[in-house]
């Protein structure tokens, strides 16, 4: 059907000459090669983490381990120089609380700014907007000064709380709630609910897709963040997994298979989050346009 269509009358845009067999083959070859290149680093992690060091650093490049070293899986946890298990746990706590906190604080503020009439609301909104101009990465010096004077260095508080007040995420929520259908809330008000009740019983349950999208992005950012945990984690017991990985790179002795196994383990939770929540992730990025 579609293949004959372009020949008759006006060419159809989507299925023009390029849609032919040759064009398609070229297209798939190009995409396939690019895809392999993008997957290569993932493969290298798996390959290196299941090889012996002798094989990794051997004279001849091997694409596959001759003898898969399943025993490597426990090695990062037995390593005495870096407490890998502790750093993984720290990352889990930080990423989960970071995500929960941001969703709570920023969504409430975004809703307030979008929907609750208040004569100074605009001024408050401009206050939020100005923080968008100052990238958080630049303020790490003064933030560290503040957090250390609060005595929060090396603590979960110090790792989590300063990152919760993201002007950007608040802004995204505000934009989203501006487009939320008013009719739903009005119905809730008729039923006698105040703003607070309507928010929790009507607005949030009807916005779960958007919350899931922001949660996914926030979780990935929280898990992967490095600069702030590096600044705050002065003591190895407060390291997140990223700081632990980084410390492997500067260690005196390089233990290849251990380092790559640790890297693989650090990536695994995110790949899971990623594959399961991808729909929301893509949708969220397409909707918001920008990383939170």
């Amino acid at each position: 059907m579609t293949t004959t269509a372009p020949e008759i009358g006006k060419k159809k845009p989507g299925s023009s000459k390029r849609g032919g067999v040759m064009g398609n083959t070229g297209l798939y070859i190009a995409t396939g090669v690019a895809g392999l290149l993008f997957l290569l680093p993932f493969y290298l992690i798996v390959r290196n983490s299941l090889m012996t060091d002798q094989e990794i650093t051997g004279e001849n490049w091997k694409w596959f381990p001759t003898d898969i070293q399943w025993g490597n899986i426990t090695e990062p946890f037995n390593d005495v120089t870096v407490d890998f298990a502790q750093s993984m746990w720290n990352s889990v706590v930080v990423a989960v609380l970071h995500t929960t906190g941001i969703l709570l604080v920023c969504s409430l503020a975004g809703y307030g700014l979008a929907r609750i009439p208040y004569k100074h609301a605009n001024k408050v909104f401009y206050l939020v907007l100005t923080t968008l101009m100052v990238p958080t990465a630049v303020t790490f010096v003064p933030s560290f000064v503040l957090v250390s004077s609060l005595g929060w260095v090396d603590s979960y508080r110090g790792l989590i709380i300063p990152g919760l007040f993201s002007g950007f995420t608040c802004f995204l929520f505000r934009q989203y709630f501006l487009g939320f259908p008013k009719e739903l809330e009005e119905a809730a008000r008729v039923d006698g609910l105040g703003y607070w009740g309507a928010y929790w019983r009507v607005v949030v349950p009807n916005s779960l897709n958007f919350f899931a999208a922001i949660a996914t992005i926030t979780f990935i950012n929280g898990w992967n963040s490095f600069l702030w945990p590096l600044v705050i984690g002065q003591d190895p017991s407060a390291w997140t997994v990223q700081v632990a990985l980084s410390s492997y790179m500067t260690n005196q002795t390089v233990n290849f298979h251990l380092i790559f196994m640790a890297t693989a383990i650090s990536i695994l939770p995110l790949v899971f989050v990623f594959l399961f929540l991808q729909r929301w992730l893509v949708q969220g990025i397409a909707q918001t346009g920008i990383k939170g």
Partner: protein
């Protein structure tokens, strides 16, 4: 569009009931509710964003080594120190070179991938995931793979193995500034990590281009391929392109993770944030100079953002959203 039809049906019923009683109650309490919703966020914003910024500006005028409550006012001394600091100035050059490579490269690669994926009829979701998957990897983990496995300076690194097949000698990718091979490592790691993310933005934008435009163009005799891309696709992507370039620039300014991990022992290729980190949290703990550097950097970012906004018309047409 469709709301006009539903509104006609849904409106009359609630309008009658909600006329007086609930409305007035909400008005009266709306100030309270506003602060109930935004209060916690605002307090946090002031304490953890505005206070640090203010403190930073304050510290930048004081001699503040190893202390955050200094007493020694030095005026613009710290700024003078930062702006004459060769390392800091070099870091700005490093940023400029980095941005000059990474911004166009990511723009082109992510747009190219989006065009490829968008043309696929089968396995579209699969390939989109493949290109998008690196978004889940941290800069630290990626730096580790790049430094230890791909661009390792000895023979077992992948890059050296591959060039070895063609009889080329090993290259110490990260170990010397001349020739600057480290740029290849730095740029490719970031390309791999971020292109998939921007590809998603471009795919979303591509799908928003009205089909009729292509139909009209083909009637007017435009050949599919370069011509339609040049005269329809590219102009239609203008808003997205602008946003992408802006995001890429700001992200480039904030580069820290991969530079810190790939070039930890090097004296070359240090971007501004690494310099600030060393200045404020290194051996000297010079908060005064570090703060002055942060202020300078923030101002630079603002200027660049505003300039780019002016040039590319960012923000136009955003009001309606």
């Amino acid at each position: 569009m469709s709301t006009t039809t539903t509104r006609g049906v849904a409106q009359p019923a609630p309008a009658k009931v909600s006329k007086d009683r609930p409305r007035r109650g909400l008005r009266a309490s709306s100030t309270f509710n506003f602060w109930l919703f935004t209060g916690p966020f605002l307090i946090g914003l002031i304490v953890f964003v505005f206070v640090p910024i203010g403190w930073s500006i304050y510290l930048s005028f004081f001699e503040a080594r190893f202390t955050v409550t200094p007493s020694d006012f030095v005026g613009f001394e710290n700024y003078k120190q930062v702006l004459t600091d060769v390392d800091f100035l070099n870091s700005l050059v490093t940023f400029t070179v980095f941005a000059a490579f990474i911004v166009p490269a990511t723009w082109a690669l992510s747009l190219g991938l989006a065009l490829l994926v968008n043309r696929l009829r089968f396995m579209r979701a699969f390939f989109r995931s493949v290109f998008f998957l690196p978004t889940a990897v941290s800069y630290v983990a990626a730096s580790l793979i790049w430094k230890m496995s791909i661009f390792n300076g000895v023979r077992f690194g992948l890059a050296n193995t591959v060039i070895g097949w063609f009889g080329v000698d090993n290259i110490a990718w990260l170990a010397s500034p001349d020739p600057p091979w480290y740029w290849l490592v730095i740029v490719t790691v970031r390309l791999w990590l971020q292109s998939g993310f921007y590809m998603i933005l471009f795919i979303a934008a591509l799908q928003n281009i009205p089909r009729e435009l292509y139909e009209a163009a083909s009637i007017d005799g435009a050949k599919p391929g370069w011509q339609t891309f040049r005269y329809i696709t590219l102009p239609q992507l203008r808003a997205t392109s602008t946003a992408v370039i802006l995001l890429l620039l700001v992200a480039a300014y904030q580069a820290f993770d991969e530079f810190f991990n790939l070039l930890s022992k090097a004296t070359w290729g240090q971007p501004p944030l690494v310099e600030l980190y060393k200045m404020a949290l290194g051996e000297n703990q010079n908060y005064g100079a570090g703060s002055a550097g942060a202020v300078v950097l923030t101002m630079l970012i603002c200027v660049v953002t505003l300039l780019q906004g002016k040039i590319m018309g960012f923000g136009r047409g955003e009001e309606g959203k």
